[in-house]
Amino acid sequence: MGDDSLIARLNMIDAQIRHEDDLIGQRMSWLVISQSSCSER
């Protein structure tokens, strides 16, 4: 595996991990917001 392709693959994995991290953050926000709006009632 050449350096360039290895770096491209590592960058791709990095982008995927960041994407999943963002998704987890969004979903935890949904959970917290929905639970807080439920407990307000």
Partner: protein, 132 residues
Amino acid sequence: MGQRAIAGAAAGAVTLLLLLLLMLIPLVGALLPVLVLVAVGAANYAMSQWRAELDRICEVPEAGRRWSHRSARGRRARRASMNALTIALVAASLLCRAPAAFAQAEAPAASAEKPAAATLGAAKLAQEFNDP
């Protein structure tokens, strides 16, 4: 006759509203958190798969010579502690009430009685308005 029909329609509307609430409350209260938690678990699993792929690449000798990677064991331990913390937080958020709910429960009930000063002030204002 017309009043009875209107009363029947109102009762039907109230019944429909109650049925809608009976459907919505379990949906929002139970199904939505479970769905969101499953989605979080799915994202967590996907992330762990990508981490494993990263570890696999970094364990290749020619790659590991240049990009040293932190040990997978330490990351696994951190992930286990984060999982335990997340489960504890979610359980606490589901079981415990928010501080606002406590404050609401402890607040005095709004009574129909008005303070005497407010009643007197309103009476005086009404008198001045009617008899300038």
